[in-house]
Subunit: 184 residues, 2 copies
DNA sequence: CTCCGAATAGAACGATCGCTCTAGAGCGAT
DNA sequence: ATCGCTCTAGAGCGATCGTTCTATTCGGAG
């Protein structure tokens, strides 16, 4: 279950717990996911990965100014964290940090998901006038900054890291050369 | 043991394992750390926190130009990760992300450590001419960017996120107003 | 030398976890 | 009606983990 993995992490969520949350017996879980916990986690990462990438155009399209959009993106994340009591926001980041060195299969899936995020998001930025090699670097910087700020904010129970990251990334994006947006 | 917690995380390192690494029996571990695994982790976080903060002046002092120093800081981290085979670099970030929502005591210690990092590092930046409220935001942005890039680089087995983060933070730091460095 | 707290030493316990195994319910095809 | 297959259902297994317990050794004070 995506929600459990997101708020609890990989190690802390048991398969009995996801069975209970899904109102399904353990046998059914293992029937549909013969690969066990690893396969469940991989499926969750893939589906949440596909869902989260849609947030990028959704949150950025309303802003003609990309710099303002980036700032608003981080502010929205900060507000969400405050309102949920500092709940974990991104299962991909948490799970990656947790099992990157102990679960090679899950790490590979996480790498897939992150890679597709970077591809899609940088294509979006190119569509908004950012030059191609720059776009990829911008996405890496923003994604890293976001994931890191999530951790700091959860640890400190404060939105200050997230908001500082947003201002920093907005200032950074303002420095990268930006042509006219491609027509849609 | 600091090294084990850094490369393996909190959940994945057992106290029997740290006993073996310390060449001490389990009884001795629990004699010196009656609080058990939690107390051991707290001690590790505090000591590594105190050690890591010293890296800031150590790595930044050689650079008269703060922007160049920031870039070199991230490049050094990227080189380290490559040379160690993408080993985890910062136990504080990993442990925080892992247990922030399940171990309140450890989370509090991590918050202490991160808070002292921010205090010390922003004091250093003020000493180098960054205005006071800006300095704190810069430190939060850099620390978050660093921790997030660690996760991405470990997941992707690539230093690209770390190097992109370094270029982004250098560009950002270049935009914050900077007075003359205070005399030392 | 005697004594006593500190530290060492590791066997053993209870809990938990991922997973397997067996049993049966549901259901379309023949 | 009967077969065969998918899916449900959960008890139970083996392994592992953090922790506790008892026994023993060490070393300085009296």
């Amino acid at each position: 279950m995506a929600e459990l993995l997101r708020v609890q992490g990989y190690g802390a969520t048991g398969v009995k717990q996801v069975a209970a949350a899904a109102q399904a017996p353990i046998g059914s879980i293992y029937h549909h996911f013969p690969g066990g916990k690893r396969e469940i986690a991989a499926a969750v990462l893939r589906t949440t990965g596909a869902a989260y990438i849609q947030l990028v155009p959704l949150l950025l399209d309303p802003y003609d100014d990309l710099v303002a959009g980036v700032g608003a993106f981080f502010e929205a994340a900060a507000d969400d964290m405050e309102n949920t009591g500092w709940a974990n926001m991104c299962p991909v980041g948490t799970v990656t940090g947790e099992v990157a060195d102990s679960e090679p299969g899950i790490r590979a899936v996480a790498a897939e998901v992150i890679g597709s995020w970077v591809d899609d998001a940088s294509a979006y930025l190119v569509g908004r006038g950012v030059a191609d090699p720059d776009a990829r670097a911008v996405v890496f910087a923003m994604l890293g900054s976001l994931e890191g700020a999530f951790i700091l904010s959860r640890g400190l129970r404060s939105s200050e890291p997230l908001r500082a990251a947003g201002r920093a990334m907005a200032a950074y994006v303002a420095t990268v050369p930006q042509g006219a947006p491609a027509r849609s």
